[in-house]
């Protein structure tokens, strides 16, 4: 596995992956749906997969002394590393965001722990659509990316709309009032911290389970592929 990860780093990593980490700076934009920053990491992973496909990486990897399953697991692990780096980069950006805009984000979820949970959902949706499909027919990576974009933006629009609606209707709906005061704000009290950490734990659980299921489907697909 270590060798396969080294291969990913040396032969598959495209400049867009580190370059697109700069999109973490989008969290410094006032009034913006901040989950979009995470989408750009997914975009860079698309470029990585596309370039791997053009480079004949799958055949090269399958000819190495590893199983097909290990090829898939290493790729998914590398994708998770790429995503986790973005996840970690967003933490100082959230702190800066709060310093710059203490009033919150009227365009969606505030820069807070809940945003990190939402970012994990963005990654889960992208991985679930793009990676198993890539290992079924890598030549259709462009189409897969289109479906991933639809899936990711579907989630972003839904979740951000919910947060905006919660802010607007907090006087009328008690649940929205709780969401607004516990999930869509910078955590200042223990109660808010707990609520947001639970949200993050749920996001992490979904991301973890989603990744395991993604690997299983991708391995199953790749076992059937004729290279």
């Amino acid at each position: 596995m270590k060798q396969l990860l080294y291969k990913e780093y040396k032969l598959c990593l495209v400049p867009m992956v580190p370059l697109f980490y700069l999109f973490a700076l989008m969290l410094l934009i006032p009034s913006y749906p901040y989950q979009v920053a995470a989408f750009f990491t997914c975009n860079s992973i698309f470029y990585l997969l596309k370039q791997a496909s053009l480079n004949g990486d799958t055949l090269y990897s399958a000819m190495l002394p590893v199983s097909k399953a290990e090829v898939v697991k290493a790729r998914v692990r590398f994708v998770v590393i790429v995503q986790m780096i973005m996840f970690l980069l967003m933490i100082p950006m959230i702190l800066l965001n709060h310093k710059l805009y203490p009033g919150g984000n009227p365009a969606g979820v505030d820069g807070c722990v809940t945003l990190l949970a939402f970012v994990l959902m963005v990654f889960t949706v992208f991985n679930a659509i793009c990676l198993p499909g890539f290992y079924r027919e890598e030549s259709k990576i462009d189409k897969l990316f289109l479906f991933s974009v639809i899936g990711v933006f579907g989630w972003i629009i839904l979740s951000e709309s919910f947060m905006i609606a919660a802010g607007a209707a907090r006087q009328a709906v008690p649940l929205f009032a709780w969401v607004e005061s516990h999930l869509d704000c910078y955590p200042a009290t223990d109660g808010v911290w707990i609520a947001q950490l639970i949200a993050l734990a749920i996001g992490a659980l979904i991301y973890g389970v989603g990744t395991v299921l993604t690997v299983r489907r991708a391995v199953r697909n790749f076992e059937q592929v004729d290279l």
Partner: protein, 287 residues
Amino acid sequence: MALLDVRELEKRYPTFTLDKVSFSLEPGYIMGFIGRNGAGKTTTMKAMLNLIHRDGGQVYINGRSFFENERACKEEIGFVMGEFDCYKNATLQKITDVTRRFYPDWDEQAYESYLSRFALEEGKKIKELSAGMRVKYALALALSHNAKLLILDEPTSGLDPVSRDDLLDVFRSVIEDGSRSILFSTHIISDLEKCADYITYIKGGKVLSSTDVISFREGYRLVSGDREHLEVRRPKLIGCKEHAFGFTGLIRAQDAGAFAACKIAPADLESIMIYTEQEDGHETASL
């Protein structure tokens, strides 16, 4: 014990079936894998290495099931599928740096000697190499990790005659200690004449013959004669070519008696392949 034992390997496509392909190769020998384009040579090799999903059959490397011990078996195999065609913008140095990490028995000295022998420069990118040089690079990688078994799909195509001859010398030196073997497919039958000990001949997804080269050749005869000798003997001809003065054809050695009136000569591998491909329906080619 056979170094390579392929048993009833099957792969079904809508328009082609690899039909229970079986053959084996002992250590210390070179086996030529021959057949027309589309006969199933590459499909067999890929199915053997799990690169395509097989529908049945088993492959044993040194007595171990390949599919149950994929990693360990692959460490003992050097596989070349024509020219190295991956990562065209990467240098040889970078690709080798990654590849060598997968093989515990990587032999840096051997690798450097092959680079030198094949006149490969590590600083060059794949896209800067000619097709022949890419084949040589693939071979250098395959030969540098002390593989017990080399599986080479058309390794000599794209090489000039001098390089081909040099490569055949490399093949002979690889197997001379008696512990390693080479299976290689080729359309250049003269290469097999020079170095193969065994021949496996595949046609339409089925193995027609898998035996040593001498027995394979001894099983056939080339005959030539006048036209009047042809008609009554046509059913015994595997294939034939008619020309203005008569015919030339291939027969099985046991049928030689029926052609006593004709000129009979030993058959070469290329003729056996050419005439055998005409066998269905005894079609003839007129010159």
